[in-house]
C-alpha cells in the first residue's frame, strides 16, 4: 500500500480502527489508546508542510467528531505534524532518506522507528492530556495518563504495523 491511494485508504482505516475499536477499550488507570497518529508516519517523507498540516487537521477533526472531544484531537495532531520535520531532521540517518518511500519499522529499522515515532507520540499525548485536563493541581494525574497511554498506544501501533505491513511489500 504505497502512493496516494494507499494513504487515502490508510486514512479511513485508521479512523475506523480508532472509532470503532480503540475508543471503546476501557482499561482504567486513565489509559486511552490512540493509534491514529500512525498516519503521520506513513505519509511520504518529502511532503509539503502545508499539506501535512491540513491532512493531520482533517484526521484530528474526524476523530473529534466521533468521540465528542471538540477539537482537542485535532489540536494534538497539529502539534505532532508541526514537529514531524524537526524530528525527522534530528534522527536523520547518515545517508539521508534517499532510499525510502514511506517510514515503517521495516524500511527504517526498528531502533530508528522506536526513537522517532516514540518522541512524536509522546509530544502528541502530552499536548492532548495537558489541554484535556487543563488544571495545574492535577499535574500528577496528567503525568500518569500521559505515560501509561503513550506506552500502551505505542505497543499497539507497533503491533498494527507487524500485522498489516508485510515485510516483502515494504522493501
Amino acid at each position: 500500500m504505497n502512493g496516494i491511494v494507499g494513504n487515502i485508504i490508510q486514512f479511513f482505516l485508521l479512523i475506523a480502527a480508532q472509532v470503532l475499536v480503540f475508543n471503546n477499550i476501557e482499561l482504567g488507570f486513565g489509559i486511552m489508546p490512540m493509534v491514529y497518529p500512525l498516519f503521520i508516519m506513513f505519509l511520504p517523507i518529502k511532503i509539503n508542510i502545508y499539506i501535512l498540516l491540513i491532512l493531520s487537521f482533517a484526521l484530528g477533526l474526524s476523530i473529534d467528531s466521533f468521540s465528542d472531544t471538540f477539537g482537542i484531537h485535532a489540536s494534538a495532531m497539529l502539534i505532532m505534524a508541526y514537529f514531524r520535520p524537526i524530528i525527522l531532521k534530528t534522527f536523520e540517518p547518515r545517508d539521508g532518506y534517499e532510499m525510502v518511500e514511506s517510514m515503517n519499522t521495516y524500511t527504517m529499522g526498528f531502533k530508528w522507528f522506536v526513537s522517532a515515532f516514540g518522541v512524536l507520540l509522546l509530544i502528541h499525548h502530552t499536548w492532548f492530556f495537558i489541554f484535556e485536563i487543563f488544571n495545574i493541581r492535577e499535574i500528577f494525574f496528567i503525568l500518569q495518563k500521559t505515560i501509561l497511554s503513550t506506552v500502551f498506544s505505542f505497543i499497539l501501533c507497533i503491533l498494527i504495523q507487524f500485522i498489516f505491513i508485510s515485510r516483502r511489500k515494504a522493501r
Binding site: 471503546n24 476501557e26 502545508y50 467528531s65 466521533f66 482537542i72 497539529l78 508541526y82
Partner: protein, 276 residues
Amino acid sequence: MRNLFAFFRRFQVFLVFAGLQIFCLSWYFTSLNFPHSQFLSTASVVNGKILETRNSFTKYWNLDGNNKNLQRENISLRNHQPLSFVRLQNQQFKIDDTLYQQQYQYISARVIHSTVNKQNNFFTLDIGKSQNIKPGMGVFTDNGIVGVIYSVSKHYSLVRSLLTENINVDVNIEESGAFGLLKWDGKNPRRGFITGISNDMDVKKWSKVTTRGGSGIFPRGLNVGKIETIETVEGKPIWKIVVLFGEDFRKTQNVYVVRNLFLEEQQKLELKPGQE
C-alpha cells in the same frame, strides 16, 4: 511594510499552524459552556448512523444484565398498580381527577455510543428533535440519574453525562435532608462527590442520595447513589462527601428522558423575581 511581508513569509508555516491551533483550542474551551451545534459530534447525521450500526452489533453483549434490570423495574411498578391491591373500605371512595395534573413525561431511548475514560464524557441517544427532545432535559435509568441533554439533531441527541466537569446536579441526602451539588473529578467512573454541605450537618455513611428537583430538570426523589465516605476539608467548614453512583456508566444501555411540562412556567417565574 516590506518588513511586515518579510516577517509573514518567514513565519508562514508557523502562522498557519497557529491559526488552526487557535481554532481548535477556542472550540474546545468554549464548547462545554456554550453548545455550538450538533455538527461535528456523534449526534450528527453521518456519525450517528455509523455508531448506530456499530451498536446494532454490540448491543447483545450486555443483554442479560439489561433484561434483568428491566424486569426488576417492571416488578416494582407492577407492585404499585391498583390491580394488585385489595380495597379495604368498600363504601367510601371518590375519584378526584382534578387533584392531579401530570408534570413529568418520560420517553424511552437507547444509548448508541458512550465513553467513561475522558475528562468530559458524553452519551449519544437514538432519539432527537423528531421525538421532541430539547437541550436541558434530564436522562436517567432505574438505577440512577445519568446526565442532561446537551445538543440535539434530527434523529440523535448528545447527553452530557454525570462524568463531566461542572455538571452541578442539585442532590439531597435522605434522612439528614442536607443538600448540595454533585460534581466529578475526572478520575473514577464509579464515584462522584458532593460539595456545599456544612460540617455541622449530621450525615451518615451509606445513606441514600437522591435528586432534589429544584432546577426542574429531574423530578424529586430519583436515585443518584449512596454515600461511601465522608471526609473533612482542611480549613473549610464543609464535608467532602464521596458518592458511589447507583448507575454503572460503562454498562448503560436503556435510559429514560424526562420532559418537565411546567419547566417554562418555572423558568419564567425565576427570571423576574418580585413581579407578578
